[in-house]
């Protein structure tokens, strides 16, 4: 689905970047509607205002590179080939969702397409991606891994052990810290005393970079440099992307802890899509109708995906019992759920 991954982005690459940011936002807006209609299972986590971060970075990867996304990286998954219908199915826990209703939201994976969704315990995926990229190194494959984590997740032991392991092993791994102001309600100053997250790079002996996370081209640029370095055997890069979480942690969170006007200011002055539209119109001489066409295409795709996903069946209870282990394994249902099965215990 994604375009070519040149260091020099063409005009059409840039339109593609626009497409990915737009579809991220539109798809999330659709999810918000479905959430309000009580059609989702579980909470809804937005990346509103952070779309450039996931999109610009994932766009720097090749087809057979592998990324591990986090809560606010829907855009990166779409670029890697997750379909909007799958995303909606994950949020509605249908039988044909990528996890068959077992896990929710962006917690899904597709190794053929090159992505591994995260699990809830934060930081764990840094260690897992150290192993994914270790396999590239051991096998001499010229592939690269990318893992995202939030400012808050930098406080976890798993992040620390994972990046340090990858640094020592010179694994081809790019670690992106999305510094978006908050971890749930906790502001950055209560998460870390560092002046900036990129200051951690020297402590791990890895390359460090920092970019404006709301400037999709700057994000792409920084990531592309890091990806090139990794592919050339230069090991790990830690990139800090500065951005801002415009919604609450999840949709239920009313952001009572956010200073007044902060959200509105970011929305007005620093929306990554608005900013990029200006770049496209002003510098790239894109015409508004071109963007309108993309918007229309996106709307149609999201509509179609919604129709597909909402007609998906729900899983049946006993489906829960398969594949805990390999080989088509199936846990036996408890006897009181399988009345035909008869007594487990026999009298002597």
């Amino acid at each position: 689905m994604s375009g070519k991954r040149a260091s020099k982005l063409t005009r059409s690459d840039k339109l593609e970047l626009y497409y990915w940011m737009r579809i991220t936002r539109t798809l999330e807006e659709r999810l918000v509607n479905l959430h309000r209609q009580n059609k989702l299972v579980g909470g809804l986590f937005r990346s509103l205002g952070q779309e450039a971060d996931a999109v610009g970075s994932a766009f720097a990867l090749e087809e057979n590179d592998v990324l591990s996304s986090l809560t606010r990286n829907l855009g990166s998954l779409l670029i890697k080939g997750a379909t909007p219908a799958d995303v909606i199915r994950q949020h509605t826990a249908t039988a044909d969702s990528p996890t068959r209703g077992r896990d929710l939201g962006l917690h899904f994976a597709n190794l053929e397409r090159g992505f591994i969704g995260h699990i809830s315990p934060l930081g764990d995926m840094v260690a897992v991606m150290a192993g994914v990229t270790l396999s590239f190194k051991v096998r001499g494959e010229k592939r690269v891994g990318l893992v995202y984590l939030g400012d808050g997740a930098t406080s976890t032991g798993a992040f620390h052990e994972g990046i340090n392991f990858a640094a020592v092993q010179r694994c081809p791994l790019v670690v992106i810290v999305e510094s978006n102001g908050y971890a749930y309600s906790t502001p950055i100053a209560k998460q870390s005393a560092a002046k900036q997250f990129v200051d951690k790079a020297a402590g791990y002996g890895v390359a460090g970079d920092r970019a404006d996370g709301n400037d999709v081209l700057a994000v792409h640029d920084a990531t592309q440099r890091a990806v090139d370095r990794a592919r050339a055997g230069g090991g790990v890069t830690l990139i800090e992307l500065t951005t801002y979480r415009r919604r609450g942690h999840a949709e239920h969170d009313n952001q009572s802890y956010v200073p007044e006007g902060e959200v509105e200011r970011w929305a007005a002055e620093n929306d990554p899509i608005d900013r990029f539209v200006r770049v496209l119109l002003d510098r790239e001489k894109v015409e508004q109708p071109e963007l309108d066409a993309i918007d229309a295409r996106v709307a149609a795709e999201v509509d179609l995906a919604t129709d597909q996903a909402l007609s998906s069946p729900q899983p049946a209870g006993p489906d829960a019992l398969t594949d805990v282990y390999a080989g088509g394994s199936r846990v036996a249902p408890h006897w009181y759920r399988a009345p035909a099965a008869g007594r487990e215990s026999e009298r002597s």
Binding site: V41, L104, S120, Y336
Partner: protein, 324 residues
């Protein structure tokens, strides 16, 4: 006296204990200004200040380790896990440091680690866990699982005053669904004592946490066909109340143990073994288990409902017990 919810009862316990003893502090992710993901600690920071209600980084190892260090110095820390599932990250600190500290070096760890636990909420494999089986095995830790609002308050207050580390597992399905009238005064529920939630003579349902309510529903159902089921709410899992277990076995001679958590290696096995050792001759039927199936807990409603134990399962197990 007005009824308050299970959640409010927990909050009340925190307020009262912080008021009573300035050594009590609360720490955890988002517990301060925000009042916690479930609002359990709401208002606490406004009342007691940022020095005693501390927003921490996302660092379960450090939260538990720091609680232990502060406890050594005579504080009474109450550490929150935002969801109890994340206590897994602090497993080493709890089992290797906290649980052994007094035994090895004489340093006490009077602290509470509390947090929202349990399923039935469509929250999937990482926000629905029951952590008790992971710690039941560790000498040095105490484990409390209240099922009523009264006990939530009384047991938390006791836990905070306990001279050892108490893991306090709140069931988040009960947070706003269960209410109770708090006993007047300084309401303390003793740790280590089970409760007869419903008296009966024909069989015993031994359980704790959210499934106490399912057991009571099952008992009600059984009563319709004239079966008098006794429901034992364990309340404390470590130390287990052997006396209460033996008493109910001697009374009814038939037992089903119910827990929400997965079966293999779960607490029902331990209780079965104790019954075997302590009062095997009093059994008229094998001890049965009604538990979750041995799979990670899935999110989709139909899947979750299938995996977790339901009232009808308890009724079925009770009916089978009566065929012996």
């Amino acid at each position: 006296m007005a009824e308050i919810t299970y959640l409010e009862a927990i909050r009340e316990a925190l307020f009262e204990e912080m008021e009573r003893d300035e050594n009590v502090i609360c720490l955890g992710e988002d517990v301060g200004v925000f009042g916690g993901a479930f609002k359990v600690t709401e208002g606490l920071q406004a009342r007691f200040g940022g020095n005693r209600v501390i927003d921490t980084p996302i660092s379960e190892i450090a939260i538990v380790g720091a609680a232990a260090g502060a406890a050594h110095m005579g504080m009474r820390p109450v550490a929150e896990m935002q969801f109890i599932d994340f206590i897994a990250c602090a497993y080493d600190m709890l089992t290797n440091y906290v649980a052994t500290s007094r035994y090895r070096t004489g340093l006490a760890c009077p602290m509470v680690v509390r947090g929202p636990s349990g399923g039935y909420g469509r929250s999937g494999p990482f926000h629905s866990q029951n952590a008790e089986a992971a710690f039941l095995h560790t000498p040095g830790l105490k484990i409390v699982c209240p099922s009523t609002a009264e006990d939530a308050k009384g047991l938390l207050k006791s836990a905070i005053r306990d001279d050892d580390c108490v893991l306090f597992f709140e069931h988040k399905y009960l947070y706003r669904r269960i209410k109770g009238v708090m006993p007047a005064g300084d309401h303390l529920t003793p740790i280590g004592k089970a409760r007869v939630a419903r008296a009966g003579t024909d069989l015993s349902i031994i359980t704790y946490g959210a499934t106490v309510w399912k057991a009571l529903d099952a008992a009600e159902e059984l009563a319709k066909s004239g079966v008098a089921a006794e429901v034992i709410d364990l309340r404390t899992l470590a130390p287990l109340d052997d006396d209460a277990i033996v008493a109910t076995v001697r009374k009814t001679n038939r037992v089903v143990i119910v827990h929400e958590d997965t079966r293999t290696g779960g607490i029902a096995g331990e209780i079965t073994a104790r019954i075997n050792e302590l009062c095997w001759e009093w059994l008229d039927a094998p001890v049965l288990r009604v538990t979750a199936h041995d799979v990670p807990l899935p999110s989709a409603p139909a899947l979750e409902d299938f995996v977790l134990p339901q009232t009808a399962d308890i009724v079925a197990a009770a009916q089978r017990l009566l065929t012996y």
